[in-house]
Symmetry: C3
Subunit: 208 residues, 3 copies
């Protein structure tokens, strides 16, 4: 039940982020739906393809499909300044999507008996794969590869599942809360992963 609510929030947030990118690229109505759907369901599809799990499972999420479809249709018609104000709130709901999709993706792989490496990749891709396809379809460099820390929190969640220290449902949900918090802190504090440049600056500081 809790997972269902989290999934609905995550699906809506991901679909909306797809819609916003499509509108920014001046894509038409079809582009809006395509980017919305791929952002919302692309992560799960990539995960199932990579883990060799039946992709057809995706087609049994009728409720989530309907939620995504209605959300996108709504987004296409509401006044534009609502869309803008969404962009602030959106980060929060998107964080919920990231966290709950990543944890469930990791649990999915763990339940199928995969090794730790596959569990981590399943968590990361379920959480971020949709956004990566969205950006590629929009002709952009994937945001997740160069914005504030995003994917690493999915790695962290999946790692926690993978090493088996969080086995019960309340622990999984706690993990979701922690990831949402860390993601929100990354945005508000502008935490970024180090790139090469930062590394060299650090090195020089240590030397002096």
């Amino acid at each position: 039940m809790t997972w269902e609510i989290l999934n609905i929030i995550g699906t809506m947030a991901f679909a909306i982020s797809g819609v916003i990118v499509a509108l920014e690229e001046k894509y038409d109505l079809f582009g809006v739906y395509l980017l919305g759907f791929t952002t919302a369901f692309g992560g799960g599809i990539i995960r199932n393809v990579l883990l060799g799990l039946p992709v057809s499972d995706v087609w049994n999420q009728n409720m989530l499909f309907t939620v995504a479809f209605l959300t996108m249709t709504l987004m296409f018609f509401i006044p534009f300044h609502w869309v803008l104000s969404w962009k602030r709130w959106g980060v929060f709901f998107d964080a919920i999507g990231l966290a709950s999709f990543a944890i469930q993706g990791a649990l999915f792989a763990a339940a199928a008996g995969y090794p730790l490496s596959a569990i981590i990749i399943a968590g990361v891709l379920t959480g971020t794969g949709g956004g990566i396809i969205r950006d590629i379809l929009a002709g952009r460099k994937p945001l997740v590869l160069h914005q504030e820390i995003y994917a690493v929190w999915a790695v962290l969640g999946a790692l926690t599942i993978g090493i088996g220290i969080a086995g019960e449902t309340w622990q999984h949900l706690l993990l979701v809360v922690v990831i949402v918090l860390l993601r929100m802190l990354s945005v508000t504090r502008h935490w970024k992963l180090p790139g090469r440049v930062d590394w060299f600056i650090l090195l020089r500081k240590v030397k002096n």
Copy 2:
């Protein structure tokens, strides 16, 4: 038999569109073949992956492979003004490819017992998926997301199959003709799907 002829026309048209994009991007002979093949067969591959159907089926289309290969080789060597004049005729043959691939993709999913949502996505992706990969491999924004109405006719065809009002072969072929007509009308009349901007212009008109 009729399907076979339609498939040959569609495969040739899609392969040629891949060749033209590769030539425009100044890709070499390998790029020409890669873009041609992915445009012609990419849609069917994506569909099979997404529906969990055996992708290896694709490798049994020996005749279509040969057709695509010969077409591309020819395109690489014919005088350039023939290629240009193709661009006009190309839209027509491409429409035949779109229509016949979409209808067969939808029939494929329907025969495998999938729900309506999957049938529509199967139809759309079989018809447009190859072109989307072609554009991504060429570093372009997928044409189908912002040009004259294209994918929607595939949606329409798949929907007609999905709700079960066209069950016999002559009806399927009629549907192909209708989709080709609608696609050609979209091009000659510059029909476009509404984007956000159009929507607001319409809204203002209604208000006044």
Copy 3:
């Protein structure tokens, strides 16, 4: 044993090429790992998806995963002029990766009983698929479609396997050596596949 050494060299070279592209695009640490992993393992994954072979096999290459991970971590921290000097050596190691991955990909498809067309595509994609995904994730046009001859040597190797004139291990390894040589010659002599323009220049020369 020999394959294992070749695979380690190839995996390292491909992972490093992913790291370099990610650094050039100013991607962060996550981007570095993602591009490194997709370059090293993406080709094998695409091949398995396209041939309908279990993708989960990829997850049993624990040793290669570890090698790739350590290589990438090292690359992120070593002085930059070492990275630059790598770019020269890199072409050589990359050629080893191309050759050994392509031959093994073709052998894989041949052992699974696929027809010649599928064997060639398996060879090409195992050798070049990772680099194609790397470039798309970096928002670039795939290098393999327009640089010095690269993919064609993979085609050649796969063709040799496919028509069955190289059946024993020493012949496969000889084939690897031949492909590495041809690739290195392509780079040092700037061999390129003909594009349309070259074709017309050639045509004019023949006429005069």
